[in-house]
């Protein structure tokens, strides 16, 4: 699978982000340690690669630790959503007729609720936590994910090689699983997973930026770093999260785009 330049860039950035998240989890990053008021607002230097923020905390370690705020809940959201959407999409795509209409009507109902609305309601009623946010994102994004899987399977339903497989007496579900979902839908599932992950990143940083929900100080998030460092006259701790967010979203977009083109060769 020859990766285009854009995809290679995407893969590298994503790898760095996931590594940073894992590192901060393993090293047991303590968001509060490293507070040194006397070292506040230092510019980037050898000792402090990205400078320090208004409480003297190291910007680069907080930037890396902030990846934990969306990588693990993002993965949870993707798996949750995939676990719901792929079977539903496959069922609708394969069964067709009234089953398809019922499943898609149900999906249409969930799709009418924008993700941010569901996320806010859930965090407000259930309490503001990563798992609730991931659950809300999984439910809200499930229709899009399922529709993509449905579309892919519906087009392949008549494909000859499936008719032949049926002729050989392969059981229905083995066909659907081995041929359809694994082989044909692989790229679609990868693409939707990447899109949902990037949607979760936007959701988390937005809520953390606006405050009240999402990640609260002193836990770091690219969103709340922007809020708390804005207007304090120090550029580095502000530019770092903005650029990190921009690059990661771009990486995810190009990877997802790449996954789509992949499908067109199949």
């Amino acid at each position: 699978m020859r990766l285009s330049l854009a995809q290679r860039f995407g893969a590298v950035v994503l790898a760095v982000v996931v590594l940073a998240a894992v590192w901060s989890q393993l090293a047991g990053f303590d968001p509060v340690l490293g507070v040194a008021p006397q070292a506040a607002n230092l510019g980037p230097s050898l000792a402090h690669p990205l400078g320090t923020d208004h409480l003297g905390r190291e910007v680069i370690t907080r930037l890396a630790a902030a990846c934990g705020a969306f990588v693990f809940p993002g993965l949870l959201a993707v798996t949750l959503c995939g676990a719901l959407a792929v079977p539903l999409g496959a069922l609708a795509g394969w069964a067709g007729g009234s089953v398809e209409r019922f499943v898609r009507a149900m999906l249409g109902t969930v799709a009418s609720i924008p993700p941010l609305v569901l996320a806010l309601l859930l965090c407000s009623a259930w309490g503001n936590s990563h798992t609730h946010l991931a659950l809300a994102a999984a439910i809200a994004y499930m229709p899009t994910f399922a529709e993509a899987v449905f579309a892919r399977i519906a087009t392949l339903r008549q494909a000859e090689f499936l008719v032949a497989a049926r002729a050989y007496g392969l059981s229905e579900w083995r066909i659907v699983w081995r041929h359809l979902i694994v082989a044909a839908c692989g790229p679609t599932i990868a693409r939707q997973g990447l899109l949902l992950f990037s949607e979760y990143l936007v959701l988390e940083t937005t809520l953390s930026y606006l405050g009240g929900f999402g990640v609260q100080e002193p836990m770091p998030s690219w969103g709340n770093m922007i809020t708390f460092e804005w207007g304090r006259g120090n550029l580095a701790p502000l530019a770092a999260p903005v650029i990190a967010l921009w690059l990661t979203l771009l990486a995810l977009a190009w990877l997802a785009h790449g996954a789509a083109e992949e499908r067109s060769h199949v």
Binding site: A6, R101, A105, M106, G108, T109, V110, A111, S112, I113, P114, P115, L116, V117, L118, L120, L121, L122, C123, S124, A125, W126, G127, V202, T205, T206, Y209, L210, G212, F213, G223, I226, W230, V242, L245, W246, L249, L250, A253, W254, H257
Partner: protein, 324 residues
Amino acid sequence: MTDAAASSGAPQALGRALLRVVGFALTIAGAALLLLTLMHAAPGDAIDQLPNGDALRPVLEREWLLDRPLWEQVLAHFSRAAQGDLGVSLVVRPGATVLEVMSAPLLRSATWVAASIALSLAWGATLAAATSRRSRAAGRFVEIASVPPVFLVAHLAVNGLNAGAWRLMQADLITRPSWFALPDEASWLRTTLAIVVLALGSGALSRTHLAVRTALLELRHASFIDAARARGEDTRPLIARHLIAPLAHLTAERVAAHVAGLIILERVLLLNGAGSLFWRASLERDWPLALGLALAAATGVAATRLACDGVRVLADPREREVSG
């Protein structure tokens, strides 16, 4: 093919339109049930979350039937909502009915969402037309430019504009613009900024640009466009006519994202629409109001999708033939 095939289309189309409207009503009912179930299934003591919970505990316990099983609570709440009684706001406007509190802001927000979708479609279409013949580089640039999320674009826009204008005012180059900082009356330019940012942020522009570009490429190679060109006709109106269906489909797809984007924008730009009201209701656990607004958002999205389906069927006769 007898003549009957064409004329019998009318009652069949009406039947299908009715089916779609019923579908629309079911969608909203489904969305309401989903939201109510999620709210009532919330772990922990709901009333305690309210800032003035203790004062309202007796009233709320009776009203929300908290002692009864989950499905009974949901059904009771749902039947009340079905008759249009969305309850009373608890914290934001205590005592006022939810309908009363949310109607004016909803109207404002609806116009902003519609304007931002129209702008993003127009923007995407013109960009796609301009770049369709050029190489992929242009598409790549649009993709990079429209990646940053709405809150970031809005934050940079509003703070940049204010700081810039303030510097100009200090140097007496301009008088105080009407939209500056926190205008006393609603400034139309401020809402335009919101609409522009909404049409740009969170990948809106790049998704629209991509969708329109693919539709355009398909159309350009369609042989009826070729034939029209061979007849020396101006193909632009024909292409525009055939872009209606894909644009309608795109609107149906993008409306939910624009509603979500508007909630963030109203919060960042201090605009007084349903979005900031919803945010405040969620933050202060004013659940009847939050639920009412969420339901209104779902209804808006479902209604837009219904309208888009209608446009697609009207525009494309082939859609009328397809059953269901």
